[in-house]
Subunit: 198 residues, 2 copies
DNA sequence: ATGAAAACAAGCAGGAGTGCTTGCTTCAGT
DNA sequence: ACTGAAGCAAGCACTCCTGCTTGTTTTCAT
């Protein structure tokens, strides 16, 4: 029954993917090498070579992994919102946490690197487009946005871009206190916009 | 009179700095090499070596150049605001243009790279701290913010982080139409916040 | 006009990353 | 127990970037 061998293979593959994301978040795109990732995953270089024939293969799988994870972070998370807070604030903080996570940081590095590397760009662009749509939909759902209100719809985009901008700032100096206050202010503004929170 | 030689030297140095910024904006931090910058500037490799002994020297000068230029982009630009638009919208668009410029893109790349490269981080952090202060002050001035209103002060930070987030998105796909609408929505929100625009 | 200094060009060695190839070890199926 | 495939380690060649060093041209001062 089952296939311990294949199971082992799958586990190694997953470790490699996780290590890639970790590497992207910690040392960035340029600093991420196959050697480094293999060392992080605790596997040999040949093992990595076996699972992902080329560096591009590893990257492709890692990008998909990152965007899948980010999508999971927001889609249908209704029940995971902080119940002790107003809904807009809870959603905004959930978004901010997403960007601050390893996956969010990795995504930021990938994003910036893709803006200059044509081949990476070709790889990331279509995946990101889908992710962007799903993130928008998920955020709009959590915020209970009335799609008939242009201002409310636009505010969803503002929320996403703002939290991403805040996340970018957090990369360099994680000034939690200030960020918290900033996000709270935005959440307060959000609450006043017609078409939000039903 | 004067020293044509030294003037020529100064011009070459400036060309190298401009080429560095251009390189950062176009091919990013990792893609920026001394050789590439020299080629961009139309100067020989030896010339670059002469002006900036080491790569770090070039980088240091380039970072200062970038932040100086960005500061100039917003400080005391009262008279350059688009007079045909409401003040908040004009200021927001000026900020967005700043991040979309070569200097803004270069700054984004530097920012992200510095988050992983310790030595670059040490170089960028203090300079960025000063820049951040001046940008805040300049933006608050242009928006005519009442510093006694916490919400208004917080909104300045939101405006800066938001435009930076939008700029990050623009790096990959410059969807001008959508961004314009988004910024307009934010400007409209800004106008409703007490303590803004006097 | 001539010598000195600055500006510039080009070649060279060291280091790092990538991908390929060669062997050795472990495990599933017979 | 045996065979074949997967997992794994190590070495090699190639490329690119960096920094150093030498040689040539241009410019200024006398």
């Amino acid at each position: 029954m089952s296939q311990p061998q294949q199971e082992r293979s799958r586990a190694t593959r997953q470790r490699l993917l996780d290590a890639t994301v970790e590497s992207l978040a910690e040392v960035g795109w340029a600093g991420t090498s196959v050697v480094g990732v293999a060392a992080r995953a605790g596997v040999s270089r040949g093992a990595a070579q076996h699972h992902f024939a080329t560096r591009d293969d590893l990257v492709r799988a890692a990008v998909e992994s990152v965007l899948d994870e980010l999508t999971r972070h927001m889609v249908h998370r209704e029940s995971d919102l902080d119940q002790g807070k107003e809904r807009p604030l809870a959603v905004v903080e959930m978004l901010a946490e997403m960007w601050a996570s390893s996956f969010g940081k990795a995504a930021t590095h990938l994003w910036v690197a893709a803006s200059t590397d044509p081949s990476l760009r070709d790889l990331v662009l279509p995946l990101e487009k889908r992710f962007s749509r799903e993130l928008f939909r998920a955020t709009a759902d959590l915020l209970r946005v009335d799609r008939q209100e242009p201002a409310a719809v636009q505010s969803v985009r503002l929320t996403i871009d703002l939290t991403r901008g805040v996340g970018l700032g957090t990369l360099l100096h994680p000034d939690l206190q200030r960020r918290k206050a900033e996000l709270a202010q935005w959440a307060a503004v959000l609450a006043t916009i017609p078409g939000i929170g039903v």
